[in-house]
């Protein structure tokens, strides 16, 4: 066996397909023994060309396209887009519609946080917790299905309002569901605080100080776990957050445990707010008429997705199609910050640290085009795909 010189670098490539995460991302960790000395990320494996695609579709078609940027936080993408287009068109959405948007967004946050808790448990080797959280998450998925008809892409929005109302029976079902979920969440908070194995895998791991979180541009629960008071729902209220405010949930430890705690404590805040909303849901219309053409202009729309600040820039040119839509998702901000923090940690902690930001690769990879294959026959044009879709589901 030859002796390794200090100048040689040993690189451990992980991914794009790997057992640590269920989504494709390629990481290269430079290691010295078990300690990470450098890290880089390569994305694009789930790139679908959505930003470009928006430029060839009308305002209404884009609502459906953008809801499909992400399968976990679909509603918040459609909402950010709808809020932006409505502000460009100068349309005021009725208060009841805004409240229902917010209600769906918070139910979505519950399902997203529970899903993430399961993933984090899975990465730490705590399969039982993973199974239980995902079982309980079904309850909120059922509620979303009951009110919208869909488990994933709820399609709650139209430009100018929402599609469905919340009936008294649905409200009762939601309240009963929240009761169950709150009890379970109480239990999970106790588990993550007391389970010896989970505490050892999270406490003091992946520490990001407040200063680092600010400099590295972390957003959402990742930033809040480091004591950065950054929550768009509080800083720049949209939808009905002025009437139904949330209390910002923070921690100062900045480690993985803090990121878990912040998300679980945010769940209680979701339950509390949904109860208030169901009690005081404003009466009125569900939507207003939207013009087909939207005036030329530019708008910025910022919302708090489950993973952090979601930023939409929308430019209209006076026609029925947008000139440019820019989507900046929270995962890309957090991904970059966590990659820079990897240095000095054990390689074995990397899956947990990566999962700790709740990375969403579909969100990261939204914007581009067609993967070229070796054989031209495997390359599908948009038209061919569309026809295939129509035939397959006929």
């Amino acid at each position: 066996m030859s002796v390794r010189t200090p100048q040689e670098r040993f690189i451990v490539p992980i991914g794009p397909q790997h057992p640590a995460l269920k989504e494709p991302g390629h990481f290269e960790f430079t290691v010295d023994g078990e300690v990470v000395t450098g890290a880089s990320v390569r994305l694009g494996y789930a790139h679908r060309g959505i930003e470009k695609a928006t430029e060839g579709r009308n305002w209404i078609q884009n609502l459906y396209l953008l809801e499909r940027v992400c399968g976990i936080c679909s509603h918040i993408h459609a909402s950010a887009y709808a809020l932006g287009v409505e502000s460009l068109a100068g349309v005021t959405v009725p208060p009841r519609a805004q409240a229902i948007r917010q209600l769906v967004a918070e139910l979505e946050r519950i399902h997203s946080h529970l899903l993430w808790l399961g993933v984090a448990a899975h990465e730490s080797g705590f399969e039982t917790l993973f199974m239980y959280t995902w079982r309980d998450r079904e309850r909120v998925m059922d509620l979303l299905e009951a009110i919208s008809g869909n488990r994933v892409n709820y399609s709650a929005n139209v430009l100018g309002g929402v599609k469905f109302d919340i009936s008294a029976e649905q409200a009762d079902a939601i309240l009963a569901g929240l009761e169950f979920l709150e009890e379970r969440t109480d239990h999970y908070l106790e588990v993550i605080r007391t389970d010896a194995l989970f505490v050892r895998r999270t406490s003091g791991i992946g520490v990001m100080t407040r200063r680092q979180a600010e400099v590295l541009g972390a957003v959402g629960p990742t930033a809040r776990a480091s004591g950065v008071p950054r929550d768009i729902r509080v800083e720049a209220p949209y939808m009905a957050y002025r009437d139904f405010p949330v209390v910002i949930v923070m921690d100062t430890a900045g480690d993985l445990k803090a990121r878990v705690e912040v998300r679980i404590r945010e769940l209680f805040e979701c339950y509390r707010m949904i109860r208030v909303m169901l009690r005081d849901l404003p009466p009125g219309e569900l939507s207003v008429r939207m013009p087909r053409r939207v005036p030329a202009g530019e708008t910025v729309s910022r919302v708090e997705a489950p993973r952090g600040e979601l930023f939409y820039f929308i430019k209209g040119n006076g026609t029925d199609q947008p000139e440019r839509i820019k989507v900046r998702t929270p995962s890309i901000c957090n991904m970059d910050s966590v990659i820079k923090l990897a240095v000095g940690h054990q390689l074995a902690d990397m899956p947990m640290i990566l999962a700790g930001i709740d990375p969403c690769f579909s969100c990261n990879d939204r914007s581009l085009v067609v993967r070229r294959s070796q054989s031209a026959a495997e390359l599908w044009s948009w038209e061919a795909l569309r026809l295939h879709g129509i035939e397959a589901y006929r």
């Binding site: 590295l216 708008t299 067609v370 390359l379």
Partner: protein, 160 residues
């Protein structure tokens, strides 16, 4: 500091390099900088006062007729959004990298570079972030003249 005060302060700090200003919406301020070299001092001025964080960088292709690109740097502080706008020629567009001052600008700048063909000078990691390794050079997908239906590949194969 409330929203109006933040916008007022931002305007004052960047005034030296601003050639045009607009307030497209409540809470927003859009400042056009004279030239790409003004970006670093303007951003430094905002940073010194800790005014906002870099939330996103947007590239826009204004089309073949205007023969120009734009790079928009959005800084957010509470409800205030300050946008620094730079107009660039389609050929030889270049902006300085903000990574020295704002490390989190890296992925935004890499995206700007590969999607719009805007050179980012002194970008620490200029590798591809989103596009495939074999993506042909000189093809910038978010430019208006790039047609995603017919990807021009290195071997000249077109779409079906």
């Amino acid at each position: 500091m409330n929203t109006d005060e933040a916008l007022e302060l931002a305007e004052k700090l960047v005034k030296e390099w601003t050639v045009d200003r607009a307030t497209p919406q409540p809470g927003r301020l859009d400042l056009t900088l004279a030239k790409p070299d003004d970006l670093l001092p303007a951003v430094a001025a905002l940073r010194v006062q800790r005014l906002g964080y870099l939330s996103a960088i947007t590239g826009i292709d204004l089309g073949l007729e205007a023969n120009a690109l734009e790079a928009l740097y959005h800084f957010c502080s509470g409800e205030a959004v300050v946008t620094l706008r730079i107009r660039l020629p389609r050929e030889g567009a270049a902006v300085p990298s903000l990574c020295e001052m704002i490390p989190s600008a890296g992925p935004f700048e890499r995206e700007l570079r590969e999607m719009f063909g805007i050179t980012v000078v002194d970008l620490p990691d200029p590798g591809k972030l989103y596009l495939p390794d074999d993506w042909p050079d000189g093809q910038f997908p978010l430019r208006k003249d790039c047609d995603p239906q017919v990807p021009t590949t290195a071997t000249g194969e077109g779409g079906r």
